[in-house]
Amino acid sequence: MSEPVPDAPVLEVTDVVKSYGDNTVLDGISFQVRRGETKIIIGASGSGKSTILKLIMGLEKPDKGSIRIESQEITSLTDRQLTPVRSKIGMVFQESALFDSLSVRENVAFQLHETGVHEDEVETRVQKNLGFVGLADAIDKFPSELSGGMKRRVAIARALAGEPSIIFYDEPTAGLDPITSRKINELIIALRDLNGVTGVFVTHRMRDAFTLASQYAESVNGHVEYRREGQLLCIANTRFLMLRNGKVIFEGPDEVLRRSQDPYIKRFLE
């Protein structure tokens, strides 16, 4: 394995092509995510957003192209070889994908149990992560007893259990009401700004995307506060990537995206 280069991108996707049968979902996608950056991937349903996450997580293999995570090529690795790479990554799935047969505690502890972490340490970390998402009370419940928003928060706690430096979010706010979505977005902002977690956020909801790109979290006397960017401060660690028909049609910060003259993008933002 090659030594990580200090300034190399955390995630580097180059000319990735993926088709299902005759349907080309991704047609030569390239982008990079630097350390501490959050990349928001937007696009209509079926534009291949979720497929990108599956590919960079190694759950599926691209037909062509290269995917590097911390300079390591992952497209040729088997599930077994991918384990050390995946331990650096947390993933929040579209419909939470919690294990129904396990309690909230066991869901969050799953990865820790699998890697043989000591039971006391497991309990501490489970408490800490559930506390972070505000669900310390739900520890003994089962996923079927939770609301949609609570499930997403447990899914975030589960993704955080292995203390990853990268997190992928697959439409974490889909199907949630605005208040619950806001809570989820705040968690993601806090992880980005206070913990320095690198993120890839897939969504088709522009409202959530712009919240992420225009607000930041600050720790004031041990209490997290959320503020909006203004004249003096502009969030530079969150950038957009827009997909259409398997191709990248825009890449850059929200200010540029909002001013775009492209008719498709303008219609999408309305």
Binding site: K54, M57, L59, D79, R80, L82, T83, R86, S87, I89, M91, F93, Q94, E95, A97, L98, F99, D100, F110, Q111, E114, T115, G116, R158, G162
Partner: protein, 252 residues
């Protein structure tokens, strides 16, 4: 999916691959002993009542029918022997396995199928755990280990059901029935009769896991996988039964 020859070959290939993967992984750490015991409880202990009922009714009806035919030859006293041999060699293993295909094969397929469509399998892989090791191996080990035991239960209850019918309905002396049953059985019958469920158990679990894991297309897909698992497992049981019978009791 239409059953073309190509699809059938692909199916056999996929089943063999899964079997090989599961076999190799069952020797690699971690061993998931807790999951195996949990599955043994669900599959084995959970199926005891169903298998007991199957055994009882089969043994009873077998006694009724064979006593009728045998008395035509004045050999009513041999009823026990005929029932015992039929049960231990064929009906016990096959019917228990078919009940398990319906109860356990369908359960495995629908559980794993639901996990596929709700992305729990992907989540498991993303968390660095191999679903074949964590889910498939414990189910195969548990089913393979439990079916021979369940078959013993079915045979025993079947013989007792037969005894009940013999004594109270056919008015055969109970000692005659039991000693005839005991003398009729040979060593090879017992060993062969326990070898069969070992193979059937593995078949039920592997087919259930295979059908579950290749589920696609939402909840409708889960239903389809479950049906396929039961049908395929049942046919495989009957097929292997023919092969194994030919091998264990070669025609002289």
């Amino acid at each position: 999916m239409p059953l073309t020859p190509k699809a059938a070959v692909k199916e056999v290939q996929d089943l063999s691959t899964l079997t090989a993967q599961a076999f190799i992984r069952s020797f690699i750490r971690p061993f998931y002993v807790r999951d195996i015991l949990e599955q043994m409880d669900r599959i084995g202990v959970g199926s005891v009542v169903v298998v007991m009922l199957t055994g009882f009714f089969t043994g009873s009806v077998l006694t009724l029918q064979s006593a009728k035919s045998l008395s035509a030859f004045g050999a009513k006293g041999l009823t026990g022997q005929l029932v015992a041999i039929s049960l231990v060699r064929e009906l016990g293993p096959v019917l228990s396995a078919l009940m398990l295909a319906g109860r356990v094969g369908s359960g495995i397929a629908s559980e794993l199928g639901s996990m596929v469509v709700t992305e729990q399998i992907n989540a498991m892989r993303a968390l660095g755990t191999d679903p074949v090791k964590k889910l498939v191996v414990p189910r195969i080990v548990a089913t393979t280990a439990m079916l021979p035991l369940l078959t013993i239960v079915a045979n025993t209850i079947g013989l007792l059901g037969g005894l009940f019918i013999a004594v109270y309905v056919l008015l055969i002396n109970g000692n005659v029935y039991m000693s005839s049953a005991w003398n009729g059985l040979e060593y090879v019958d017992v060993v062969g009769g326990l070898l069969k469920p070992l193979v059937f158990g593995a078949a039920v679990a592997i087919v259930g896991c295979h059908c579950g894991l290749r589920t696609y297309g939402g909840t409708q897909g889960v239903g389809r996988s479950t049906t396929q698992a039961v049908v395929a497992a049942s046919i495989l049981i009957l097929f292997f039964n023919l092969i194994l019978t030919r091998i264990i009791w070669p025609p002289s």
